[in-house]
Amino acid sequence: MIYTEINNINQEERLFMYQLFLHYYRGDLLKLPSAEWGKLLEMLERQHSLQSNDWGRKAIQQLQNLTDQALETFEFDFNRLFVGPNKLLASPFESSYQNFEGTVMQAETLKVRRFYYYEGLQVANEGGLPDDHIQFELEFILHLLGSEDKNKVLQLFLEKHLLKWVDQHWARIEEHSQNQITLAFGYLLKGFILLEKSLIEGEGPLC
């Protein structure tokens, strides 16, 4: 009973966090007016479980002390890490970590695609965009989180995909980030993933 309660709280938080990461990786936050960052921070401060680990606290601390300069250079650093045109410093593709050559659209990407197909989903402009971009994986997770009976698929997808590579991804963010916001989101990711892992290891229901 107690477990379920905690889990229910987590459930809302999870939804919030996954949504937040989806917006982040889709680049939506690049357009966020500076005044809105305060509101976002307030929302984050209300996520209790996030406050329960060091990484979450560090992330919030970073965002509390945001400078104007950090806001100005956020986009450049975001692009350096995830978009290019330079060599991606923290590639957002699963295959960059799982494929021997780091090449996208290989067997690793197809495995992700199969998950989507299984759920009747398909990436828009399939073939032009690798299916294993973190943005699509997050969107897929959100889709699963939205239905009560997708627990097993979600757990499987997390174990077989996102959780398999996200640590390496985050390590690269920490190594290469030159901006408070990208670093804060790196910490957030790290902190959140720790929570996800303990949730899965705690073998409770995921949805």
């Binding site: 978009v83 330079n86 593709f93």
Partner: protein
């Protein structure tokens, strides 16, 4: 649903490479699954090189440019994603503004080279032509001297079908290393060898090809002409020449005899570093073991006497009657199969007040010309199919010249050093995402390239970009640009063919190329008819045309002694098998093969200089200095050093040293890149 069947599409490798391989793309579920060679290609016969088989890793590289990106300030690494329409707006506005500022389009510059050899990749040149008179990089860093030399001697550029080599008794691979750079040729060479032909490699380096040859002659770099002269003298003195052939098909034999007789054999031997026995051997093979098939590489003409080197070998072949007969000939490069209409280049402004044509900026001396041309200065530069900042000499001057530009746009697959130095980088499609047509400068096959997969992220073809720009300009101002924005890719392809071209391909419609590449119906043996488009109609051993532009009328000459005491070693820049210039650099598995740049040095020289194996050394000349790891190699001689130029390091030592020829055919002199004299010291 996952589709279980592949669709198979035809592609061409558009790189600057002898083979221009036709390839098959296997696509399933909008994903390119694998790439193989096309067995219907009569020259490459279904095989690719390692680079070709690796295309998947190139196409699906995570670091490909994905969106139009803008950088401010230039070189800062602060990139912003912009939409295509923003990018096109910025560019179009600049073009219009500059036109009004200078009342001409000369402030617009284009620098395009061979990163993609496809016909539709002429789109940007076509677009520039459609504006009026603009500035353009003109010339060629690769084969300019040789092309002129061939032109002076034969009047045209032809090669034989590679099958022709099977008729040869003797094969001379002169400064070419096909095992590394033209792998498909090796099957033909091996086959000829099996049938009894003897293969002789002449090269300053004991190459992989040399190792597979029957004889290797290690020549001093750049002394090919001296070697040819020594052999010609021997041939003359021992009556090994083909008098009948000379009489019927050459012009200037008497003059040439007169010219070479007094030249010193000893000096020639000393210059090329050979013994008289080697000369005798070559002379006898040329005179007695005919037909002799000679293949000339591109390195030997990248010297100050590069064109002369080629003319010298041409003369040698002519003297011994080794031209026009099956299994003979001097093979260098050809243009006879490039029978496209090039309509894509010919949409000129209808407004008669607008001047046409180009203001040339020397390709090999680009930095200098950018600075020199000030009326008006170039303010806008479009770079495509080209990595200007790694593949040029005088990099510091070039960077300085680029500073005065107001807008630099680069079209690319990856963020090259050049793209890093641009204001806008536009993502380009690969040959798996676009239409194109490709011919070869070596063999005689034409292949079509069709799209297999959707463009990666927001990338677009050059042609699409040209159309978009033209459309936007005409929205601003009617008839501003004559480049058609309403023709489809396929319509552009259609326009590249004439009935005559169809006939020589034995097809009725270009779509038949989708069933397989076609051979252009040119003679299988170059100069088979022994008719030459020279002023005399014969092979010109004495060229009045050359003389008229202050060149020696003869191909053969001794070298000026130009070895400097301060820089006594020649540094050669030889290609290696896994890259083409700056292309294919960023594939992880290739990076493992060559972890870091190195210089090959003979152990005896290393010992003399106190250089230990695998230690870092200084390489320097009057232009600059580099630090690079030394590797011992007995494949080079004591005075020769080799670097595989798959990194921009070497540019610090390079400047523009004009070769003797190149202007006639390519519009500018070649760069004598292999006349790089340096010194070395241990660190």
């Amino acid at each position: 649903m996952l589709d279980q069947t592949y669709s198979i599409t035809r592609h061409v490798c558009p790189r600057n490479c002898y083979s221009s391989c036709s390839m098959l793309g296997y696509t399933k579920n909008r994903r390119l699954h694998k790439v193989t060679g096309d067995p219907k290609h009569g020259y490459t016969k279904g095989l690719l090189c390692a680079k070709g088989y690796n295309y998947i890793n190139n196409v699906y590289h995570p670091d490909r440019v994905k969106y139009p990106m803008r950088q401010y300030p230039r070189g800062s690494g602060q990139w912003q994603r912009i939409s295509w329409s923003e990018a096109i707006d910025i560019i179009a506005e600049k073009i219009i503004e500059l036109y009004h500022r200078y009342d001409s389009h000369l402030s617009l510059g284009l620098n395009k080279y061979s990163g993609n050899m496809g016909v539709l990749h002429h789109a940007m040149e076509g677009f520039f032509n459609g504006l009026g008179r603009t500035s353009r990089a003109v010339g060629n860093p690769c084969w300019a001297p040789g092309m002129d030399a061939i032109y002076y001697d034969y009047g045209e550029h032809q090669t034989s079908d590679m099958e022709d080599i099977l008729h040869a008794e003797t094969i001379i691979l002169w400064g070419i290393n096909p095992v590394w750079t033209s792998i498909h040729a090796m099957n033909y060479i091996y086959e000829a060898q099996k049938q009894g032909a003897k293969v002789i490699t002449i090269d300053p380096v004991y190459t992989e090809t040399a190792k597979k040859s029957d004889t290797f002659i290690q020549i001093k770099p750049g002394s090919d002409g001296a070697l040819a002269l020594a052999v010609a003298k021997y041939i003359l003195e021992h009556n090994l020449y083909d008098a009948e052939f000379l009489e019927a098909h050459t012009n200037g034999w008497d003059e040439l005899q007169e010219y070479i007789q007094p030249l010193s054999m000893e000096e020639a031997l000393q210059q090329c570093g050979q013994t008289i026995e080697a000369i005798q051997f070559l002379a006898e093979r040329l005179g007695r073991s005919k037909p002799v098939y000679i293949w000339l590489g591109f390195g030997m003409q990248r010297h100050q006497n590069g064109g002369q080197n080629i003319r010298a070998v041409n003369a040698l072949a002519a003297i011994t009657g080794n031209i026009g007969h099956k299994g003979s000939g001097v093979q260098f490069g050809q243009r006879t199969t490039w029978k496209f209409t090039y309509n894509i280049l010919n949409y000129l402004p209808t407004d008669k007040k607008k001047a046409n044509g180009v203001r040339p900026l020397d390709f090999n001396n680009f930095a200098n010309d950018l600075q020199k041309q000030q009326d008006p200065p170039v303010k806008f530069l479009w770079i495509t199919c080209r990595n200007l900042l790694t593949q040029s000499a005088n990099i510091q001057q070039l960077k300085k010249a680029l500073q005065s530009l107001e807008l630099i746009v680069t079209v690319e697959h990856f963020l090259t050093e050049t793209a890093q130095y641009s204001d806008i980088v536009l993502p380009a499609t690969t040959q798996f995402e676009e239409w194109d047509l490709v011919a070869s400068y070596w063999h005689h096959w034409i292949s079509i390239n069709q799209p297999a997969i959707p463009p990666y992220y927001e990338s677009k073809s050059e042609l699409e970009i040209a159309r978009m720009l033209s459309k936007r300009l005409n929205e601003y101002e009617e008839d501003f640009s004559a480049f058609p924005s309403d023709l489809t890719d396929e319509e552009f392809i259609e326009q590249e063919f004439t009935d005559e071209f169809y006939q020589s391909l034995q097809i009725e419609c270009w779509r038949e190329l989708l069933k397989g590449p076609r051979r252009v119906n040119v003679p299988k043996t170059a100069w088979e008819a022994l008719e030459f488009k020279t002023p005399s109609g014969k092979i010109e051993l004495f060229s009045q045309q050359a003389r008229e532009i202050q060149l020696s009328p003869f191909g053969m000459a001794l070298l000026d002694n130009r070895r400097s005491e301060n820089y006594p070693f020649t540094l050669l820049l030889n290609h290696e098998p896994f890259r083409i210039n700056s292309q294919f650099q960023n594939l992880p598995s290739y990076k493992k093969i060559n972890k870091e740049p190195c210089i090959y040095i003979h152990p005896s020289l290393a010992k003399e200089k106190g250089i230990r194996a695998s230690s870092l050394i200084r390489v320097f000349n009057k232009n600059g200095e580099i630090v690079i790891r030394a590797r011992y190699s007995e494949d080079v001689n004591h005075h020769t050093l080799v670097i595989h130029p798959n990194h921009p390091l070497i540019n610090k030592l390079l400047t523009f040293t004009p070769a003797d020829m190149g202007e006639f055919v390519t519009g500018g002199k070649g760069n004598a890149l292999n006349d790089l004299q340096v010194n070395i010291a241990k660190l």
